[in-house]
């Protein structure tokens, strides 16, 4: 049995997980269905949301916050951050605008999380 702390939300439920394949995993201690999904992913293919910034030109601040729209495989976090570093976008931007599409071949887009007007 493995003990995990669910990171799906700030409640941080203490999960007890039996089994190690998608078919035989049994999860207890979860407060909601997200706990089961998290445990299954964490045991078989851990994923994380990646939040950071990309450069923006023409706005009142030099960087704008972005996130991966969905969690991406944990081992791609740093490749993804490297993509953030190489990206520059231009004001104005709105919440949800795509800054990088299909980041690192994950099929997941990186979207802007803050609207910034043109300076």
């Amino acid at each position: 049995m493995r003990e995990l702390i669910c990171i799906s939300c700030p409640m941080g439920c203490h999960l007890k997980v039996e089994g190690d394949t998608l078919e035989n995993i049994v999860v207890t201690g979860n407060g909601c269905i997200r706990g089961v999904i998290y445990a299954k992913n964490e045991i078989t293919a851990p994923k994380r949301m990646v939040c950071g910034t990309v450069k923006i030109e023409g706005a009142t601040q030099p960087v704008v916050s972005v996130k991966t729209k969905e969690p991406i495989p944990k081992e791609k976090i740093f490749d993804c951050l490297e993509q953030f570093n190489q990206t520059t976008i231009f004001a104005p931007v709105n919440v949800g605008d795509v800054a990088i599409s299909n980041v690192c071949g994950t099929g997941v887009d990186v979207v802007v999380t803050k609207g910034l007007a043109k300076k």
């Binding site: 939300c9 941080g12 203490h14 949301m49 960087v63 916050s65 919440v95």
Partner: protein, 422 residues
Amino acid sequence: MMTRNLVIVGGGPAGLACAISAYDAGEKDILILEREEELGGILNQCIHNGFGLHTFKEELTGPEYADRYIQQVVDRKIEYKLGATVIDVNNKKQVTYVSKQDGLVTIDAKAVVLSCGCRERPRGAINIAGMRGSGIFSAGTAQKLVNVQGLSVGKEVVILGSGDIGLIMARRMTFEGAKVKAVVELMPYSSGLNRNIVQCLNDFDIPLLFSHTVVQVHGQGRLTGVTIAKVDENLRPLMETAQFIECDTLLLSVGLLPENELAKNADVEISPVTGGGVVDDGMMTTTEGIFQCGNVLHVHDLVDFVSEESALAGQRAVQYIKQGAPDCEKIKIETKNGVRYCVPALLKKDGDFTSSLNFKMRVASVYKNVTLTVFADGVVVAKKKRPIVTPGEMESITFKQEQIKILKTASNVQVSLEGGEK
């Protein structure tokens, strides 16, 4: 003098939620005063995800969460002023602010909500010996520099304090290419959320040293390293355990303090435990017509709970504007057996048993298998079994109508941790 029905001091998550609920409760004459150049408060620099699961049933970043509320304020055409710093609130509900645009203005308000948040404990509050080299930041300052201003704050980092901001910044600095050598925590437990220890430290193999502290900082000009040591059970450093860690940056995440200078000017009684105002179950402070909500009242773990509490404050402020304060006795809610504080601290014996009632509490240490218990005149009114409670996670009990009636007619109300291992 300008007059307004409701003046809200602070346009962060608390002020925004308060304004929206006050408007929806029928009050249209609202003014939000915000000292920054944009609404949203601290959420603007909290670019990580994890906000809003309770409120919106989806996981948002700080700026996205703020945006949802800012849009609602804009849609309702609620007036707000940016770059407007409130410099005084008095016990006659007069609010004085300064701004470039308006100069010095005093507003006569019918009700005032203080939603001005908290600030970080600075280095000076924790007395670390050493020089004053650059490279020592409060974690929130570093967060703003990196996330909003796009600056780099350092390459080799030690973080003192394992509160959420410290943990979040450990990951953020790692993402920015820095090496976080250790997170050092004075207490034998973290005051941060478990999920943040998992996803901010464990994911990147960052060591978390409990019962350790920074005893000295080294370096003139720029920080060159810190000396850390274990502490004994009285939190005194054991110098024989001292070790040097080379680093160019020290981030301090050593606690948040409600920003209550304005409340003090208005004669609001301040709780020595929370550092926030003493409020009743209608969120009113000990000064009539002045309300508090959010982190200025007590430091929250989750913005969702700030929004919820602030929405209540907005409704109750409107109720006060319309009906005035009921002339009734208020009893003090006593806390004991490991419960450090309860918000509200006072309960009105106003005969109102239909409005919602919720207690939020923090415990003094980590306890297992305890029952959070509420007593009225010595009789159990509510119980909540908890497998584990920690100082870092706020506890909450919401009461049913029949329980509210018992509590609001009792002459003694107590909140206590019963049973379990302490």
